[in-house]
């Protein structure tokens, strides 16, 4: 599969300030989360990928197209939902979305049809003839999403899509992002400071700090790996419980009084632990999977002083 984003020694300066410093990575996931504290360079990276800021050194490829030489192609394949309010206040939603579709190259009739479809899809069907200036903040977010997907792009870049949304609207937005990922050949880059949004919607995460990549994580792999780490608390005499588990090939470590951490070996499931506990007459008071949340990953990444490129 063609990587969604490939960065090769990408460096961007704005004036004399170095904003992106020698970024190199290849991201192939269907949904990629872009994380980082304020000023990490997330928005500059997005703007560079869209050709708004020319790279000073290195290059980037979107879906196999170089942003230096194939910017037009890149822009025709990408849909962009900016962070800030971006619309024309005195246009109706349907006219605005249609114009955006036409600017992406759709003929007039197709653009009109897809504008209606996109507005219905994001849930603005009933309000599509209202002027955008009269929309609430949440509705404006949805209208921005509609304009980003109206031309049927291969990649949608969403910059803080849940900004200003109330919890139900946020959930709906995240659900929509997940649905978009699952339907059709669409890839998504989600830039958000809300770790929960990224965790719920993304497969891969790239964490930036001070213009450098400090962590890359494949959340799918992490989730699978998390299922192999188990924390157990027993009650009473362990009766050789640890030895029995080690006999199954699991790695065990005592984490305190009657507390045990273990890594399940290949082929061993949770039911096997229960069986061993029953045979050794050990009471299991607690059994948890280790849950290394995105927040843990993010905080660990932020502790890293020197980013890796």
């Amino acid at each position: 599969m063609t990587p969604t984003i490939e960065l090769a020694g990408l460096e961007v300066r704005l004036g004399s300030r170095l904003i992106l410093d020698n970024l190199t990575c290849s991201l192939s996931g269907r949904t990629i989360g872009l994380l980082g504290p304020n000023g990490a360079g997330k928005s500059t990276l997005i703007n560079t990928l869209l050709g708004f800021h020319p790279p000073n050194r290195g290059t980037a490829r979107i879906l196999g197209h170089d942003i230096r030489t194939g910017l037009d192609r890149v822009r025709s394949l990408v849909g962009f939902m900016p962070e800030n309010d971006s619309f024309i206040a005195n246009m109706t939603a349907v006219a605005f979305i249609r114009m955006m579709a036409e600017l992406s190259g759709l003929p007039r009739e197709a653009a009109l049809e897809r504008a209606h479809e996109a507005l219905f899809y994001v849930g603005l069907g009933e309000a599509r003839y209202r002027k955008l200036g009269t929309y609430s903040l949440g509705m404006k977010q949805l209208a921005k999403l509609a304009q980003a997907i109206v031309h049927g792009p291969k990649l949608v870049i969403l910059d803080e899509p849940t900004n200003g949304l109330d919890p139900p609207a946020r959930q709906r937005m995240v659900r929509m992002i997940r649905e978009m990922k699952e339907t059709g050949d669409l890839r998504i880059v989600l830039c958000s400071h809300l770790l929960r949004d990224v965790e719920e919607a993304c497969e891969e995460v790239l964490i930036l700090k001070q213009g450098r990549i400090v962590h890359y994580s494949n959340l799918e792999t992490e989730r699978k790996a998390n299922l192999r780490f188990v924390e157990i608390e027993t009650h009473g005499d362990d009766g050789g419980f640890i030895e029995a588990l080690e006999g199954l090939g699991c790695e065990c470590a005592i984490a305190g009084d009657r507390r045990l951490k273990m890594v399940l070996s290949e082929g061993i499931e949770i039911q096997d632990i229960y069986r061993v506990a029953e045979s050794r007459r050990v009471q299991l008071r607690k059994l948890n999977y280790r849950r290394d949340t995105l927040e843990d990953i993010f905080l660990k990444a932020m502790e890293t002083t020197n980013g890796r490129s």
């Binding site: 822009r75 025709s76 619309f87 206040a89 600017l103 209606h116 291969k154």
Partner: protein, 286 residues
């Protein structure tokens, strides 16, 4: 109510040619222009003078009416360079007024609503964006400047015969070239102001101020420095000099025709520079 699919699907159909997409901006902006009653009213009024002149031309060549009124043919209208200079000056003034109303609507709303990233994340360059916007002003103003000018020239040519038209072909060139240059100047100045001033009312007022101030400034420079070069700072004078040359009418400003063209090029270049600094997807705060 129409039933629309509520799932995401990619678009696989045909695309419009890349070169023609800037005209989409023109089309949408033109729709907006005539939603204003003031602009529509002004547009209609701007046809009165050319229509009056067409009527005058008709009477000029209608022997029955002339004999009835006991007038000679050149007693109604004298068709010479001055006639066309006055015609184009009147129409140029209307074009200027129209620009003051149309111009601020072109870029200012996009900047005020932060819409530029949405345009430029699509296959649309900054040049195409400006061209698309400029075309609106240019097309609308064409209908009140060189199109009626050439129409009147053609009517007079038809009524007076091909020999008149051939002998006075310079008038036709003057109508077209002078108008196009005037429209180019107005368009670029209006767009530059619209790009730098986000409030439409202030942008319109500023356009009026720029044109009147430049005239006053030109006069002040001439008076203070006791020179004639100040006229080159006034766009209206530059066009007047070009028209005067084409229509073979003497002017008081003593401007060289090359200097007039150079002055227009400098003003246009300055406006393009202003536009290039402002028309960006994102402003970089240094």
């Amino acid at each position: 109510m129409a039933v629309h699919k509520r799932s995401y699907r990619a678009y696989e159909g045909a695309l419009t040619p890349r070169w023609s997409r800037f005209l989409i901006l023109t089309r949408y902006a033109a729709k907006g222009v005539f939603q204003s009653r003031i602009i529509t009213g002004l547009f209609v009024i701007s046809f009165f003078y050319p229509l009056l002149m067409i009527a005058g031309l008709y009477l000029n060549h209608n022997t029955q009416v002339l004999s009835m009124l006991k007038l000679a043919s050149d007693q109604i209208l004298v068709i010479n360079g001055t006639f066309f200079l006055v015609l184009m000056t009147v129409q140029a003034a209307f074009a200027f007024l129209m620009t003051a109303f149309i111009g601020p609507n072109m870029i200012a709303p996009d900047l005020a609503n932060n819409a530029l990233p949405l345009y430029f994340c699509r296959p649309l360059s900054r040049t195409e964006y400006v061209t698309g916007r400029a075309c609106v002003i240019f097309f609308v103003l064409s209908f009140i400047t060189w199109i009626p000018g050439l129409l009147i020239f053609a009517i007079e040519g038809t009524l007076s015969g091909p020999a008149w038209a051939w002998d006075h072909r310079n008038f036709a060139f003057g109508i077209f070239i002078g108008s196009v240059l005037w429209l180019l100047l107005l368009t670029l100045i209006a767009l530059a102001i619209s790009a730098w001033v986000r409030w439409k009312l202030i942008a319109g007022a500023l356009l009026l101020a720029v044109m009147f101030a430049s005239s006053g400034f030109a006069t002040a420079v001439n008076e203070i420095l006791r020179v004639k070069a100040g006229f080159y700072l006034d766009p209206a004078n530059l066009i007047a000099a070009i028209w005067a040359r084409f229509f073979d009418v003497p002017i008081h400003t003593e401007m060289s025709i090359t200097g007039a063209y150079a002055g227009i090029a400098v003003i246009c270049g300055f406006c393009v520079l202003l536009l290039s600094r402002k028309i960006r997807a994102f402003e970089v705060v240094k």
